[in-house]
């Protein structure tokens, strides 16, 4: 079992590095989350109240509605890709630095 009492969590939480990670991550996560929800719910709302727009033919029999539904897949994948990139390039290194420092301090205290 890991012993969690040997770490001063409050100290880590109040460090500027952690606060910066928290700020960056929350803004980004909730931004993506809200965007994805709005984009998703536009599809059934549009299908119910804006049928005339969905019926406009764009590419042979392919209409706006089909393209919109297909775009939901593309947008979901794009959001996942954007998040993964940001997490790999920004959040992971920041978290790793905090963990390294914390482990150094834990080692020093022993």
């Amino acid at each position: 079992m890991v012993d969690t009492t040997q770490v001063d969590w409050k100290a880590i939480d109040s460090r500027p590095e952690f606060q910066e990670l928290h700020r960056k991550k929350m803004g980004f996560l909730w931004g993506l989350m809200i965007f994805s929800l709005i984009y998703y719910f536009l599809l059934p709302i549009g299908a119910a109240y804006f049928q005339d727009i969905y019926k406009i033919k764009v590419w042979g029999p392919v209409n706006v509605g089909i393209l919109f539904a297909l775009s939901e897949f593309v947008v979901a994948w794009a959001l996942a890709f954007v998040y993964a990139r940001r997490a790999n390039n920004v959040f992971d290194p920041m978290a790793a630095a905090i963990v390294r420092d914390a482990e150094k301090q834990m080692g020093g205290r022993k």
Binding site: M1, V2, T4, V7, W9, K10, I12, D13, F18, L21, H22, K25, L29, L32, M33, S36, L37, Y40, F41, L43, P44, I45, A47, A48, Y49, Q51, Y54, K55, K57, W59, G60, P61, V62, N63, G65, I66, A69, L70, E72, F73, A76, W77, L79, A80, F81, Y83, A84, A87, N88, D92, A95, I98, V99, A102, E103
Partner: protein, 634 residues
């Protein structure tokens, strides 16, 4: 432990079960049924061998519940897809598209978007602070006993709803496909699943899900290639052929009824690609969408998958892979459904299953050369076997989730307060697995003939209204505490179930009677008219036609009268209502906000210093993975 012998025996029993001569007629013609058994035999053999290998690796409780944390991101991505793509989504969505066109495809979108929620706010934090179950997250900074009890009860509730839908749906499906008796197929699914979970734990479950997902994706790609190639892989070319087909136009005309009278065949075809053929109640649709996008993140069997990977990075990677596989699969489904609508036709699809579940399998038979060809039946046999494997893999994941709640949370956590040796914990997990497995088989057999389709929606409703608010707020809101978790779980679960109990999902005898009376009146009028016409008719062909019409009307009238008789003097639904008190079929739009409100109110009223004191620890750990329990080395 003689796991090898057991695995062999289970395989033999399962094969013997499905090979038992049965007379029922299924989609697979009797002379080709051996093909399905052969394909399924190969799948069982492979998965049993994997279980045998896995059983040797299951040494401690971490192996049993979480595969020792040794699953890679890619493997877990496939396993999530295998866990998630149930028969309902594999056969059901293709069926909806084949019958209703655009609306069916629109329905599939929510199942993928759900994983954005999982990716952004659930997967990584849960990996960082959790161990084996949903309750591990809920209990982290709260009263262990209270949080574990409500978490475990909710896990068992959600899993049982989903499990029942899978067992009953699976039994019906296998009967429709191959003609095996319902009870036998429920038992075969149960025995196979027990063999995997009991001996191989999460290791075997993971591999069964991976194998099933690969088979499912392979079968779908193969079918789509065959049905799309003639149109040069052009989307407009393919859809032009679909909407130009008279079977598709006929189905749209049937759905639209009187409104179709003044439409040209071209307009009817194009209408198939436009919304509104299936969904008439937008609020209900939005409500279902909410249950999907928030419920997936609260599904215990999906959450559990994130404990099988070593780090948060692997959890992230597994969701990305799962989204690629699941999304890709649903795009393929568009072609399967549309292709089936054109090649097989709604009339033939509905002839075997009114819900459209046979659209994919029948398309397989068609592209292979039709009902009388060897290749066509081989394709159908392959898809039927994959459908069976699908049910087993999903059921295995659900049973493991329910068993872990029972053994890890209730027995080890609450009753024994963690004073349990490793060996005893593994034994408890296996006993719980047998209990849940036996329960699944019993419920499956008892629910024969029941309409259980809404149970999947109910499982998602409870997961989104109870589990999701609790997990999200304990992870992201400092003041969340035991009071909030308990109140949120209780209110979320009870409102979701309560609203469904008074919704149009249930059977209302008076409404059914009224509908039957209408049919009887209409058919009586038809009969009178046809009889009068018959008396006046002189030509033989006209007489024959009228006689056939009379026979048809008499049959419909008889069926309606039989239904009336069956209802007898019943006036109310099982909860005593004459008509629905709540008009929506999906409670999410009401119960999800209520669930969140309950967590917030409960937390503010209860006040718990310990929960707030431990916030720093939880928040730092969920964000950094500091002190992440390292997986046990093998």
């Amino acid at each position: 432990m003689s796991s090898r012998r057991f695995a062999l025996a289970a395989g033999v029993i399962a094969l013997a079960g499905i090979a038992t001569p049965v007379l029922a007629q299924g989609a697979v013609a009797a002379q080709y049924r051996w093909l399905t058994f052969a394909v399924f035999g190969v799948i069982i053999s492979i998965t049993m061998y994997v279980t045998y290998l896995a059983a040797k690796r299951v040494k401690n409780v971490a192996d049993f519940y979480a595969a020792g944390g040794g699953v890679s991101g890619l493997q877990n991505g496939w396993a999530i897809a295998g866990d998630y793509l149930s028969a309902a989504s594999f056969l059901g969505i293709a069926g909806l598209i084949s019958l209703y066109g655009y609306d069916g495809f629109m329905y599939s979108v929510g199942w993928l978007v759900a994983y954005i929620t999982v990716l952004l706010v659930i997967a990584e934090p849960c990996r960082n602070i959790g161990k084996y179950t949903l309750s591990d997250i809920l209990a982290y900074r709260n009263n262990q006993r209270a949080a574990r009890i409500v978490g475990a009860l909710s896990t068992i509730t959600v899993s049982t709803f989903y499990l029942t839908a899978q067992m009953v749906g699976g039994g019906v499906l296998v009967k429709t496909l191959i003609g095996i008796d319902y009870e036998i197929s429920v038992m075969v699914v149960g025995v196979l699943m027990l063999a995997y979970v009991l001996f191989g734990g999460m290791v075997a479950t993971t591999w069964v899900q991976i194998i099933k997902a690969i088979l499912l994706v392979t079968a779908s790609i193969m079918l789509v290639m065959l049905v799309w190639t003639p149109y040069g892989f052009s989307l407009p070319g393919f859809l032009t052929a679909v909407i130009g087909d008279t079977k598709v136009q006929g189905q749209v005309a049937l759905l639209l009824g009187d409104a179709a009278k003044n439409m040209t065949p071209e307009q009817l075809g194009q209408r198939f690609l436009e919304p509104g053929l299936l969904f008439k109640a937008p609020i209900d649709q939005i409500s279902l969408g909410m249950a999907l996008v928030f419920g997936t993140a609260g599904m215990p069997h999906i959450l559990m998958r994130f404990f099988t990977v070593p780090t948060a990075q692997d959890a992230r990677k597994s969701v990305i892979w799962a989204m690629a596989i699941i999304g890709g699969f649903y795009v393929l489904t568009l072609f399967l459904g549309m292709g089936s609508a054109m090649k097989v036709g709604a009339v033939n699809i509905k002839a075997i299953d009114a819900g459209g579940n046979m659209a994919g399998p029948l398309l397989a038979q068609y592209v292979g050369g039709g009902p009388d060809s060897m290749l066509g039946n081989l394709f159908l046999a392959f898809v039927a076997a994959v459908a069976f494997a699908t049910i087993v893999a999903v059921v295995a994941g659900l049973v493991l989730a329910a068993a872990s709640a029972m053994a890890h949370d209730l027995y080890v956590g609450v009753i024994r307060q963690e004073h349990v040796s490793q060996q005893e914990q593994v034994r408890a997990a296996r006993i719980a697995t047998v209990i849940v497995g036996a329960m699944a088989i019993t419920i499956g057999i008892l629910s024969k003939g029941q309409n259980v389709a809404h149970l999947v929606a109910l499982a998602f409703a409870v997961a989104s209204s109870a589990n999701f608010p609790c997990v999200l707020l304990t992870l992201f809101w400092k003041r969340c505490n035991t009071g909030g978790i308990v109140l949120g779980m209780v209110v979320g679960t009870l409102t979701a179930i309560g609203l469904v109990l008074v919704s149009p999902n249930l059977s209302y005898p008076l409404a059914i009677k009224a509908a039957q009376e209408k049919i009887i009146a209409a058919e009586t009028a038809n009969l009178a008219k046809a009889s009068a016409d018959l008396a006046a008719a002189t030509e033989a062909p006209a007489q024959d036609k009228l006689k056939a019409a009379i026979a048809k009307s008499e049959k419909a009238k008889g069926a309606a009268e039989a239904k009336m008789k069956e209802i007898g003097s019943d006036r109310t639904s099982i909860v005593g209502l004459e008509k629905p008190a709540f008009e929506l079929r999906n409670p999410g739009i009401i119960s999800i906000p209520l669930g969140f409100l309950a967590v917030i109110l409960g937390s503010l009223l209860y006040r718990d210093k310990r929960s707030e004191d431990m916030w720093d620890e939880l928040y730092v750990r969920q964000n950094t993975g500091l002190l992440l329990a390292k997986p046990v080395a093998h």
